[in-house]
Symmetry: C2
Subunit: 90 residues, 2 copies
């Protein structure tokens, strides 16, 4: 039971990690320094982890990767949007 | 056996995801847009995943999180270093 708690804390931390990045991006309207290749690799990786979690039937791994997948996709989309807006202005 | 491959691909993707971010940071000497709170949460989370992986005795989860922990720590340290250098110049 205690191990489930460690897993849940792990899942919440690495998943919610993308929230401050998303908030920072929305606030500053800048995500230029953020690597798009990193997020592409991450999104692909989260989908693979999702399958692996399904195989292990581990709800924590599945849940963590669904949420991480959602947030990291948003960051990549916003980065593209902000760079497009910037290029229009200058 | 095929599932091990899915796990390894997942681990390599989410782990190596930090490499392009590290390279981008070193190349541009800019990591300002990268959220420090994100990396602090991630580092904490990877340590928790490490313990969870040890509990599951899953070498893939353990290995992935050791590497992710190393790279994300480097990104956070470099961000601090570059911001300090920038503040000296201006």
């Amino acid at each position: 039971m205690e191990w489930k708690i460690v897993g849940v804390i792990a899942a919440i931390s690495t998943t919610s990690g993308f929230i401050p990045q998303l908030i920072r991006g929305i606030r500053t309207k800048r995500l230029e320094d953020v690597s798009p290749i990193m997020y592409m690799l991450m999104i692909f990786g989260f989908i693979m982890w999702l399958f692996y979690g399904m195989h292990l039937r581990d709800v924590i791994i599945i849940g963590a990767n669904v949420v991480a997948l959602t947030f990291s996709s948003f960051i990549l989309i916003l980065r593209h949007k902000y760079l497009k807006q910037k290029n229009k202005v200058y």
